[in-house]
Symmetry: C2
Subunit: 344 residues, 2 copies
Amino acid sequence: MKLLKSAALILFGFSVNAVAAEDLVKKASDAGLKPIPQNHAELFKLIDNPDNPINKDKLDLGKKLYFDPRLSKSSLISCNTCHNLAMGGVDGIPAAIGHKWQHNPHHLNSPTVYNSVFNVKQFWDGRSPSLEEQATGPIEAGPEMAMPAGLAVERISSIPDYVNSFRRVFPGQQNPVTLENIGKTIGAFERTLVTPSRFDAFMHGDDDALNAKEKEGLKVFIDKGCTSCHNGVGIGGGSLQKFPAVKPYKYASLGDFVGDASGMVKVPLLRNVAETGPYFHNGAVWDLNEAVKIMGETQLGVTLTDQEANSIVAFLDSLTGKKPDVHYPVLPASTAKTPKPQAD
Amino acid sequence: MKLLKSAALILFGFSVNAVAAEDLVKKASDAGLKPIPQNHAELFKLIDNPDNPINKDKLDLGKKLYFDPRLSKSSLISCNTCHNLAMGGVDGIPAAIGHKWQHNPHHLNSPTVYNSVFNVKQFWDGRSPSLEEQATGPIEAGPEMAMPAGLAVERISSIPDYVNSFRRVFPGQQNPVTLENIGKTIGAFERTLVTPSRFDAFMHGDDDALNAKEKEGLKVFIDKGCTSCHNGVGIGGGSLQKFPAVKPYKYASLGDFVGDASGMVKVPLLRNVAETGPYFHNGAVWDLNEAVKIMGETQLGVTLTDQEANSIVAFLDSLTGKKPDVHYPVLPASTAKTPKPQAD
């Protein structure tokens, strides 16, 4: 039947597919899926934070700090160590490893920084309301960068180039080098890490941006109910949900994370998901196909066939986006006053 | 007297300084100091390796591998971890820390990768004849990246984008993904990490590129005999020497490194030295002024005055060069076949 339809398409020279694509865009839109805006002003409005407006100087400084390992006690670990912009914004290991090779005590997987601006809250338990606030968490966390706030401020304050940048970015402040402002610059930089994908092009009207299998996958993704949680611009990230909801999660015993106070877990973004394995809060699953099937079971109570899971994975692949150009920064040198690295 | 000379210069409108600068360039040149060529063809000839010719595809691949932590057993440590291009090409800690947070067993300091093409041999004991060969050393070394050669090949071979790049860069080879070829691509990339400085501009005839204090420092640097070892395009890196030579090195007990079989130690490059502390093979000294004085004592048997050491440091600051633009790479994603990270 499908073959006949395709043949008809070719023979009669009019686009049944185009109509179908338009329907699919509407279906996706009705299900709550939203593309990243193509219009720059619209996008800027979506990612900017009125309490911490983006500007060029702030982005430059935030990028430097994002890549600066001197924000860790040892001077060896930067934000980019666990949220590597070269690798889908993650570290690619099951659970984070930090200062002195400590494993994350809850066996929590590092979520991607790409498109994290579309998360309604940050961290797996949603305990942080913004990227600006989140950014300071791992800096101070003992098993991550292990950096006392005072030492962070002292390190940065010892480097005149950094101090000048902070003065420029936070004019009128007596002592602009604070952990809060460090978080603001890093948060601003992270807000710009948005990755438009073929899915977005499709939603904006480019029918050919997705192939037939991916379109089929998008349909299945919607029809099975995945979009009840994985929606919005992030294709996830918009809410916390019970996990597991319907049936047990077979790898639940790995780590001791149980969600927030109500047992709720943040729905992860699915953008670039093909690059951000291993999956789930505890990084237990390496295979995306298996992850999709587990989600069907635990969250929707449906057993997906191999074909259904495969087509969903095909759709998810279309969410791999173009990464922003990042010029690797040259960091200002330490000075005689810079507190020394503390590796132990 | 100096003031009078300056006044005379201004009054009579002719350049005494220019003549002096010309003399100083000749003096520096006679002492064996060489600038990085400004002429691109000349520079290319200087950095290229006929056994491993530089080309664009090789550089692209080499840069990716340089930044790829999956070349380490844990998938957490890349070449750039210890030779950070954002931080003068070093890690800024006394001695390298690697896999499972192991400290370098000999307490050896990570040398800068910038301008390392000008080293006659690589490693502190000069045991590697080329950057291409050197690059594979830390990948395999247990306390560094701890990566068995076979596993490195298996990881890279599991990623189709990488395999395609290796085929393109090493045409005609049946199995181009080898540790040797990994080293060749990384070595080629490293050859391009050259940083022209104000010193080079001065040597090429820009009299104003160095200020009076720096020129004075350059004179002292030559007159005291520093150029007997720190010469050539690298301002060092051209030979192995006895260290300490004349008087004991007061921090010799830190670590057990004694040089090569003959007790010889490679003379480090001084380019970007202001950014590459702490100093010496065992990273014992944080203050460049102290390092300069120690070198005077141990190598030349001279006690430098504060003023002499200060002026040498001023000259050394002029060796801080412009870093090449590095676009942070987007690495090809791992696949289902990619051997998993091994953090333990």
